[in-house]
């Protein structure tokens, strides 16, 4: 679940919670301008898809910046 109100998602039992931007624009950030906004959205969607691969035992929180950075680093080391 991608949501701006991740605290609520966690306490009500959503299993994989990805931090979204704001209530009005969960999957984007209009302050970034069109191109960067699109890149930001894509990053969130990709994070959402990627975390489906994670085995979790309870509500788990994913910050897209931290998570994707870690994944990129892992990929870099593996290469």
């Amino acid at each position: 679940m991608v949501t701006a109100i991740y605290g609520l998602a966690m306490t009500t039992g959503a299993i994989r919670v990805v931090k979204g931007k704001r209530i009005e624009h969960v999957l984007g950030d209009p302050n970034l301008g069109v191109e960067k906004d699109r890149a930001y959205s894509l990053r969130l969607v990709r994070t959402g898809l990627k975390v489906l691969e994670e085995a979790v035992s309870g509500p788990t929180f994913f910050d897209p910046d931290e998570y994707m950075k870690a994944k990129e680093q892992e990929a870099h080391h593996a290469a």
Partner: protein
């Protein structure tokens, strides 16, 4: 801070050649008042109609309900800050009020044009809906008013609200120089230190996030509707209308805010059951998790700095705003402040909480019923003989049907009794 609130009951209201109160009878020169309203170039049409309890009358659309009040002695003006009124701190001196009468703001103007916030409230003066809303037992002076359509929505809003304040001020000024038949003193005198310190925390909707504007008209604190840090307010300021204006539910009106039973009951128990310390109002509908948490933590911090041992929390909205409200309850409890939460509930579904987020710290709650009016089992409301306001009404979940206002209608969708006005009972099965 001492406020003497003088009450002038109104038992009868009629149109006449002057605007005048005598022995409970209120005469209104509607021509003169309409002339005053129309002297504002922003206004295109205005008329005044009367609605009395028991009549087969429906008032639609109802944007606000205002109790006529006036500052007689002391600084400032009632309903401060709204529509460019003075922002001088209120709550001292003498205020007079007309009881049993209200000015109803009847207008098609929406609070903003960003979508979502539609006016849904109407008033029936008889029938099943009338039995459960406080305004149907009032003598209602309905100001049916529309602004010049070319104006910006914020200007339209202030124009129609100003028209209603003009009428409210004119009615209240009829008793400015008279001795009130009833008077009550509101003052937080020092009390025994053995009594627990208690604060009242009203959570007040902000339209900023929904409208995307800092100046949208809605329920305001000294005229300000933006998302702002918590406000420390003496309860007397609330009695002078420091928080005023409508939101979109039948219980979020200027009238409800100055007649708030939670506030009045807490005041009357000051010195007997507890020490009523202050009010701390916070704005709701922040749009980020950390903003919601921050405003909750800061509100609880204020309460703690005031030495609060107990708190009463109310709110006036729904949806995601529940987050900062319930987190305020949580934050207070975590600072050792025993907190009561007064709220309406969502539909009860099998085994699922009627609260958006049930948290263990919220261990003392008072329910005012279910907020979806469909849960009240009223069915369709009967047709009426007379409509004040618009003859047609948009209905349906998609807002795609137009029906005659005078015909059978489903009740307004929401019935969230924010402050405990109703007298509904229920049986748990």
């Amino acid at each position: 801070m001492r406020l003497d609130l003088g009450t002038f009951p109104v038992e009868e209201v009629h149109f006449g050649s002057r605007t005048h109160w005598k022995d409970g009878s209120l005469e209104i020169n509607s021509e003169e008042l309409v002339k005053q309203i129309m002297s504002d170039p922003r206004i295109a049409h205005a008329k005044i109609e009367l609605a009395k309890p028991g009549e087969s009358t429906r008032i639609w659309p109802v944007r606000d309900v205002i109790e006529p009040r006036i500052k007689v002695k002391g600084p400032g003006t009632v309903y401060p800050g709204v529509c460019d009124r003075a922002i001088i701190t209120v709550g001292q001196g003498v205020t007079h009020r007309l009881a049993g009468v209200a000015v109803i703001e009847v207008s098609e103007v929406l609070q903003h044009e960003a979508g979502g916030d539609f006016t849904e409230v109407y008033i029936d003066m008889s029938g099943p809906w009338a039995k459960i809303i406080p305004y149907a037992s009032l003598l209602n002076v309905c100001v049916v008013v529309e602004p010049d359509p070319v104006l910006h929505v914020d200007i339209k809003n202030r124009a129609v609200h100003q028209a209603c304040l003009t009428v409210s001020d004119a009615l209240a000024s009829t008793v400015k120089d008279l001795v009130p038949p009833q008077s009550e003193v509101f003052e937080l005198k020092p009390v025994s230190s053995s009594l627990p310190n208690v604060v009242y925390i009203p959570c007040i909707h902000s339209p900023q996030a929904m409208s995307g504007s800092l100046s949208t008209f809605c329920v305001s604190i000294y005229g300000i509707t933006q998302l702002t840090p918590p406000w420390v307010l003496h309860p007397n300021e609330l009695l002078d209308g420091a928080i005023s204006g409508p939101y979109r539910t039948p219980f979020a009106t200027s009238w409800a805010l100055v007649n708030n039973p939670v506030l009045l009951e807490m005041y009357r128990r000051h010195g007997t059951d507890f020490n009523f310390v202050t009010c701390i109002a916070l704005r709701t509908e922040w749009t980020k998790q950390y903003e919601k948490e921050l405003v909750a933590l800061q509100t609880a911090k204020y309460a703690s700095l005031f030495g609060a041992q107990g708190a009463m929390v109310t709110w006036d909205a729904g949806g995601n705003e529940f987050m900062e409200v319930i987190r305020t309850v949580q934050a207070c409890e975590r600072l050792g402040i025993k907190t009561i939460f007064l709220t309406s509930e969502d539909y009860s579904a099998e085994g699922v909480s009627t609260m958006l987020e049930p948290i263990p710290e919220a261990d003392a709650m008072t329910s005012t019923g279910f907020f979806p009016s469909a849960a009240l089992g009223l069915g369709e409301l009967p047709p009426v003989e007379r409509v004040i306001g618009s003859p047609q009404k948009v209905v349906g979940p998609l807002r795609d049907q137009i029906v005659p206002t005078a015909g059978k209608l489903t009740p307004p969708r929401r019935y969230d009794d924010h402050y405990g006005f109703n007298r509904l009972t229920c049986v748990e099965t």
